[in-house]
Symmetry: C2
Subunit: 190 residues, 2 copies
């Protein structure tokens, strides 16, 4: 998706060690118009999968998931990383290693909002190692729901996350796929 | 705002002790159409304050802030509760007591995205004790920026948060103001 790639070129920063800083427009400061355009494009790509719910993980998945869900006319559920007091005692919970936090984090969804009849579209900001998305896939399975697609804004192809998702057999879409990050350059694969 | 109040009546749950469960449409599962309508209404109410940026706190402030910012055509910044590795070493940080977590939490904003020239509109999901919003007010002040308004989806008037904000002298708007929560009832003040 050209406008996202242009924005990454313009405002993204390669911090080295494969770390891409996009907190000027995606995950600290958010550009709502860009996010809306990304949501529209993800909604277009997944228009035919028959999703009934969008699932993401807090925190930085919320903005792209919300934009996509709005364009699809679907509710969005974001997995919490700690259980709020408003959640029932019995929850769906999985552990996923967090790249940015350097430890395991919990991903928690209330069974009230993820039932066996749902057709789930997972949306997140990044597909890197794929561990967070795999956690969301496990939550979908344990709920008895059907996974119908996985979409992300940015894929870091060099972290290989897609390889671990291919066997699931659902469409995987990324709006900007980064093949390589060298010292000063961000090289897209498409 | 009638549709939000109707939704609270229909899907909100009074858990007792002043706790209102709205995680079916605001802060775990989100209804993007409702959130969009709320954002449009908040944008309408703050159309004249000359805001240049919307500021909120992760996690549950993100959805209403993003919707409001989109309708105002402004960027939104969400204060982080832990410092990501992509953030510079020098940050704007304040502590605020968290009602739901029962401890102090950090609110952290990168100075890259909150400068002295900004005119800041604070948006959050709840105005209850007002402590999170006061934290965002402090971040705005320490950045040297100008606060121009405070907007929330739901105000729990009985927690008195508004009293602590009135002296700031900016407009405060809530789309649904709850005067009282008795055993089985949610009583709106308007």
């Amino acid at each position: 998706m050209e406008i996202l790639k242009q924005r990454i070129w313009k405002d993204g920063k390669n911090l080295g060690n494969g770390i891409l800083k996009v907190d000027g427009f995606i995950n600290h400061q958010v550009d709502p118009a860009l996010m809306d355009a990304c949501g529209r494009e993800l909604a277009r790509r997944f228009a035919g999968v028959g999703a009934t719910k969008v699932l993401t993980a807090e925190i930085s998945g919320i903005a792209p998931a919300l934009a996509t869900a709005r364009h699809l006319g679907l509710p969005v559920v974001y997995a919490r990383k700690s259980k709020p007091i408003t959640m029932p005692d019995q929850v769906l919970l999985t552990l996923a290693p967090s790249h940015t936090k350097g430890r395991m984090v919990e991903l928690i969804v209330s069974p009230e909002f993820l039932g066996a009849r749902e057709r789930v579209l997972i949306i997140d900001d990044f597909l890197a190692s794929g561990q967070t998305i795999l956690g969301l896939v496990r939550l979908t399975k344990v709920a008895g729901a059907t996974l119908v697609g996985i979409g992300t804004l940015i894929e870091k192809c060099f972290e290989g996350g897609r390889d671990g998702l291919l066997s699931i057999g659902v469409p995987i879409e990324a709006l900007a796929s980064i093949a390589e990050m060298t010292d000063d350059e961000i090289i897209f694969s498409d």
